[in-house]
């Protein structure tokens, strides 16, 4: 395309230069033509001829000595003489000088005037007519020569004029041709460009439509999935409650009728049912979060209180693995602006993870700090840790890092996703810092202070579940 444009510019430049050149040439020819038409030299030369004849005629008439005829002849002498300066002065001289007979005529004129001017000073006398007539006749030859030469010049000029007009006509034609070719090529170029633009616009519109329909499809699929998940969780939970309830009832009421093996089966039914219920609750939670149906009851919540509650709940598991949990810097913290239940959910999840992925006899620390209107809580463990690349994976719904250490851990892989979303709908931020074998530090940054009133916020936070929440249970 660029080569075509450069070519077009070159052609345009050449054509314009050609047109300008042609026009200059034309102007030159036209100027020459105007020069010819301005020139009245021809008229002046023919007047010279006429004056010469008049002078001669007047002299012939004055031969009788009639005073009026003598006066007239004297006047004709002067008018004929005036023709000399008419030809020799001003614009005509430049034209006529080039004619060979011009010089001879001037000499003849000067000779006549030198000879007769002294006699004419006091009027024309009858005895001066004869020599004057001879002088007048002598002028006839040179005058005639100039008239002929001028006539020839006129013919040449006329031929020249015709040539100039022809050249001008040719130039006009060529110019017109060049401009026409230029115009046509530009029109063609414009047409091509127009086609091109139309085509690319069509292509653009097509891909826009494809994208639009893909987006619509994705949106409706996502909505359908959320509804499906919510309904399914609800529908599954109802019979599950019966399974769990009746297995518990059987454990209590019919324990003595069952042998050890049957009691073991019953226990399996109950724990599996509980686990399934937990999974379903989590899925329901995620669907709710995604649908933006979570209500927050914002309050001033002391971090110390929340953490203490959570610690109580994980203490059993921690004791089993001989894990020590320390709290540092929680006393002087300002309260967190948040929903107490949700905050408990956040920290319980994180502490459970910390205990879950800690080695036997390990250490977990909860460190609190206040910074720029935020409360920053750090949950640190010295457990198995994870790769930087895996942090992203851990935050994605249904994704768990699969390796030898995590293989025996229970869970659906939604915990961190929910935590992250909950933190974000609190206008907070969650960051994970981890290294394989060194442990994991999860930092939760939440707004500090006392809200003006207890606020109920209905969030619409589907976007918080990024990357897009996918139904990936089977993966």
């Amino acid at each position: 395309m660029r080569r075509v444009v450069i070519g077009m510019i070159c052609v345009l430049g050449f054509a314009l230069a050609a047109v300008v050149g042609l026009k200059l040439l034309q102007t030159q020819h036209i100027t020459t033509l105007i020069g010819y038409s301005e020139d009245n030299a021809s008229w002046a030369v023919h007047q010279l001829g006429a004056e010469q004849l008049r002078f001669e005629t007047a002299l012939l008439r004055a031969k009788d000595g009639d005073p009026r005829a003598l006066d007239e002849a004297a006047l004709r002498y002067e008018t004929f003489a005036s023709r000399r300066s008419v030809l020799a002065d001003g614009v005509f001289r430049h034209k006529l000088e080039r004619l060979p007979p011009f010089g001879a005529l001037m000499t003849a004129f000067d000779r006549m005037l030198a000879a007769h001017d002294p006699m004419m000073a006091d009027g024309l006398q009858p005895d001066e007519i004869a020599p004057l007539l001879a002088a007048a006749s002598a002028m006839r030859g040179p005058v005639h020569d100039l008239v002929l030469a001028e006539n020839e010049l006129l013919n040449t000029v006329e031929a020249d004029t015709r040539t100039h007009i022809l050249i001008i006509r040719h130039i006009s034609l060529v110019t017109l041709l060049v401009l026409s070719v230029l115009l046509i090529s530009f029109a063609a170029y414009a047409l091509v460009m127009l086609r091109h633009a139309q085509n690319s616009e069509l292509a653009l519109r097509h891909s826009e439509n494809v994208l639009r329909s893909a987006l619509k499809e994705a949106q409706s699929a996502s909505a359908a999935k959320s509804v499906f998940l919510a309904n399914m969780s609800h529908e599954l939970r109802t019979p599950l409650n019966a399974v769990i309830g009746f297995s518990e009832f059987l454990e209590i009421s019919a324990a003595h009728k069952l042998d050890e093996r049957q009691r073991g089966y019953l226990c399996d039914i109950r724990t599996s049912g509980r686990h399934l219920l937990e999974v379903l609750s989590t899925i329901l939670e995620v669907s709710k979060l995604e649908a933006g149906k979570v209500e927050l009851h914002i309050d001033a919540v002391p971090a110390r209180m929340v953490i203490a509650e959570c610690l109580r709940m994980v203490s059993g598991k921690a004791k089993q693995k001989s894990i020590a949990i320390d709290s540092i810097g929680l006393e002087d913290l300002p309260p967190i602006q948040g929903d107490a239940t949700r905050l408990r959910q956040i920290f319980l999840n994180l502490l459970t993870n910390a205990v879950k992925y800690s080695n036997e006899g390990g250490q977990v620390r909860v460190v609190g700090a206040a910074e720029g209107g935020f409360v920053i809580m750090r949950i640190e463990d010295e457990g198995i840790g994870m790769k930087t690349a895996d942090i992203e994976t851990a935050l994605r719904p249904f994704e768990r890092i699969r390796n030898a250490e995590t293989a025996n851990q229970e869970g659906v892989g939604l915990g961190l996703t929910i935590v992250k979303t909950l933190v974000e709908i609190h206008n907070g931020r969650l960051e994970i810092d981890s290294e394989i074998g060194q442990g994991t530090t999860v930092s939760v940054c939440l707004p500090a202070g006392t809200p003006r009133a207890s606020i109920i916020e209905t969030t619409s936070h589907a976007a918080a579940l990024t990357p897009p929440f996918e139904l990936a249970v089977g993966r």
Binding site: E38, Q47, A50, E51, R54, L75, E78, T79, A81, S82, R84, S85, V86, D89, G90, V91
Partner: protein, 173 residues
């Protein structure tokens, strides 16, 4: 009484004005004393000869003078042309018309619109650079337009109207 005298005065004024007008119309143009150099004919109110109104060099010289210094196609250098304005000459003979046919000694003739005389300071020059113009140098009278002063006049059309060796002017109605 005062009112009456005013009326009388007004009448006297009107009478004197109209008599002055009549004077201008019928005022006799004196006959030329020397050789006539310009003959005016056609639609003119005043005459002094059978042929029309004739002027000798002295009569031309007696009219209000005007000088134009201008370049022309006929001389290499700008020159000073001096003489009466064409419109003053026309007024002197009570001319009224549309066209002036100006003829030269060689019987060359050119038509000059009467309006030119009123629009431009056209001079009938009888002197060039302070000297009388000889016949041999396009004299005795030379119609000159203010070419350098009004550049629009520098065209073939006005050069044609600048008649030299002027002999006569015929006023066409």
């Amino acid at each position: 009484m005062q009112f009456m005298s005013r009326i009388v005065a007004a009448f006297a004024l009107i009478f004197s004005l109209s008599s002055w007008q009549a004077d201008a119309d019928s005022g006799a143009l004196p006959p030329p004393q020397g050789t006539p150099i310009l003959t005016m004919t056609g639609a003119i109110a005043k005459t002094n000869a059978d042929a029309g109104a004739q002027f000798d060099a002295a009569m031309i010289a007696a009219l209000p003078r005007h000088a134009i210094t201008t370049g022309t196609p006929w001389y290499d250098e700008p020159r000073t042309f001096e003489g009466p304005l064409l419109r003053d000459v026309l007024a002197a003979v009570g001319a009224s018309g549309k066209t002036l046919t100006v003829a030269a000694l060689n019987d060359y003739a050119s038509d000059v619109p009467f309006s030119d005389a009123l629009t431009y300071d056209v001079v009938i020059a009888d002197r060039i650079d302070g000297q009388p113009i000889p016949i041999r140098d396009r004299g005795p009278l030379f119609i000159i337009y203010p070419f350098d002063q009004v550049p629009a006049l520098k065209s073939e059309q006005y050069y044609q109207r600048s008649v030299w060796q002027v002999k006569s002017i015929k006023v066409q109605p």
